[in-house]
């Protein structure tokens, strides 16, 4: 077989398989990309100068701040509810666990947009809200329209809905931790609360973090739904401007650029967070930063089953 070794004069040439399908796909992609770029540059209706002139518009920046603020609050509410509901579902008390299942089924089974409008119109159902002892005296009473401001309706809608998704994510994380870990911690004399905090939760985090990052990125975009209940977030502010100026497309592009920038920043943060929580693994291929960023931009998958495997490489799963 010496003839095949490269240095010999009479070396046999290796001809790779010609992959015509790949060449065709490459050509098609390049042509489509070229057409898009040409159109972006030559179609004057994009009004790029207008797009960029609005990027730092005061009203747009105000909307961006509201969007970020709403994202953070809704995610905090969602995570807290998610942890509580995950623990409630695992409870040995059947009343508590069935109630948690009911909560999750209801909020996952109805559209978020419907829920938001529902909270916004809560006064139609309960005109007055009061605090008191059940079947006893009332201590405090107030009109629902005063209590449930549009902003609170938005937080309730986004947070309660997110809580249902987060509880499934947290539950999957807790279940991913081997029961031997709890046994070992208990055998060492650690209490239940210490075992949860020091042993189970940190290990569950590696399964919880990646889908939670996806949820956060998704939440940032989902907040645009609350424009229907007149919360002055990013999209609503853009709409407010273009309803005056009729520059619909340029403003939607401005808004998209901001969403894209923030999701990119969040994806980078997610990369470092994931890396922190997978310490202790060996032989795990580091996912590239670029791949993580790209993953954050593609459409969300909210279900746990789709997003959680990204946290665990196949080799690790076979070991557990």
């Amino acid at each position: 077989m010496s003839g095949t070794t490269g240095s010999d004069g009479d070396a046999v040439r290796v001809v790779p398989v010609r992959r015509y399908g790949q060449r065709l796909a490459t050509t098609v992609v390049l042509v489509v990309v070229a057409l898009i770029v040409i159109s972006l540059v030559t179609n004057p209706r994009y009004q790029w100068s207008l797009v960029f002139s609005y990027v730092f518009n005061a009203q747009i920046l105000e909307g961006l701040a509201t969007t970020l603020y709403l994202t953070v609050i809704a995610m905090v509410v969602g995570v807290v509810i998610g942890v509580v509901m995950a623990l409630a579902r695992e409870s040995s008390n059947p009343v508590v666990s069935v109630a948690a299942s009911g909560y999750i089924a209801f909020f996952r089974g109805t559209p978020l947009l419907v829920q938001l409008i529902f909270w916004f119109n809560l006064a139609a159902l309960y005109p007055v809200m009061s605090l008191g002892i059940p079947f006893g005296p009332t201590l405090f009473s107030e009109s629902t329209n005063v209590l449930i401001t549009p902003f609170l309706a938005a937080v309730l809608g986004l947070g309660l809905n997110e809580g249902a998704y987060m509880s499934e994510i947290v539950r999957a994380g807790l279940q991913s931790v081997d029961s031997g870990q709890t046994d070992a911690a208990h055998a060492l004399g650690m209490r239940k609360s210490q075992t949860f905090r020091r042993i189970v939760l940190p290990q569950a985090m590696r399964v919880i973090i990646p889908p939670t990052g996806n949820e956060t990125i998704s939440m940032l975009k989902t907040t645009s739904l609350v424009s229907v209940i007149a919360i002055p977030e990013l999209l609503w502010q853009a709409q407010a401007i273009y309803s005056r100026t009729y520059q619909v497309i340029p403003l939607l592009i401005t808004v998209s650029l901001w969403y894209l920038l923030v999701t990119t920043v969040l994806s980078i943060g997610q990369y470092y967070l994931e890396r922190h929580f997978t310490r202790g693994d060996t032989g795990r291929p580091e996912r590239s930063l670029l791949g993580t960023v790209a993953r954050g931009i593609v459409p969300r998958h909210s279900s746990v089953t789709v997003s959680s495997p990204s946290a665990v490489t196949p080799g690790e799963r076979s070991r557990s």
């Binding site: 046994d183 070992a184 055998a187 060492l188 650690m190 209490r191 609360s193 020091r198 042993i199 060996t282």
Partner: protein
């Protein structure tokens, strides 16, 4: 046999009386009486499903028992006796009593998100409120005992099974236990790694540690155990010095089990 004679005068450390444990409808442990004295090494043998691991887990209350009592150093592990009733203890009290009983598992159960040293320091600091410095010093001593001083900074996944199990033993020892429970400590190991773990256990036995070992290593039981107890069907079939139980078993069930494993 001199060791056995010495043990007869040693104080009782573990005493089980009429222990029953039920899983669903199945009685897995059906009336176990057992006495283990301070410094004694007891090996629990028996076919799988005989209830030996379940009984071991009852000793430190990882499993709740359905009837009977188990006391360690004179204290009931998971309960408080009031008259003829046993009241289950609160989480904190159970944890307190469990901290004096070390346990080593078949699957090692090291904490994978912590380094070896962190694994050893965790319980002394969290449970005993020791200072991090003194806990680290003691952890390094214990790693020396199991011959893994150089692995202090490694994560468990980078260690071999035998090394992981030795770390698990060291982790249990940092709590200065009065009693060590071993639940098939070598069953998950590749054959060539069994010896290093058994050597560490032999060293512990020589130092006078009280140990209850569920195992299939008949050779280890013969050499190290003071008492060999054979279990089948959730009951103790027979118990005695290894020479007697392993060489000249009184019961047919023991004989047929030994014939299969030897």
């Amino acid at each position: 046999m001199t060791g056995h004679a010495r043990l007869e005068t040693a104080p009782v450390l573990v005493e089980a009386k009429g222990v029953h444990k039920r899983y669903g409808g199945n009685l897995v442990v059906r009336g176990i009486d057992m006495t283990v004295r301070t410094g004694e090494v007891m090996c629990l043998l028996g076919p799988s499903g005989s209830g030996k691991s379940t009984f071991l887990r009852c000793i430190n209350h990882l499993e709740k028992i359905d009837a009977g009592t188990i006391s360690v150093a004179g204290e009931l592990v998971g309960y408080r006796r009031q008259g003829d009733r046993l009241h289950e203890l609160r989480d904190a009290e159970i944890a307190e009593r469990r901290s004096e009983i070390g346990m080593v598992f078949q699957q090692f159960n090291l904490f994978p998100h912590m380094t070896v040293l962190e694994n050893l320091v965790e319980a002394p600091v969290q449970v005993r409120r020791e200072s991090a410095k003194s806990a680290r010093e003691r952890a390094r001593e214990m790693l020396d005992v199991v011959g893994l001083a150089e692995k202090a900074g490694a994560y468990p996944r980078s260690l071999s099974g035998g090394q992981q199990q030795r770390v698990a033993i060291a982790r249990a020892l940092t709590m200065r236990p009065k009693l060590m429970l071993f639940d098939e400590p070598t069953s998950a190991l590749d054959p060539e790694l069994v010896g290093e773990v058994l050597d560490v256990m032999r060293g512990l036995a020589d130092d006078g540690m009280t140990m209850i070992v569920v195992t299939h290593e008949i050779g280890f039981a013969r050499e190290v155990a003071d008492t060999v107890t054979f279990m089948d069907g959730g009951v103790v079939v027979e118990s005695g010095p290894p020479d007697q139980v392993l060489r000249d078993p009184r019961h047919e069930r023991t004989r047929s089990f030994l014939a299969k494993v030897l």
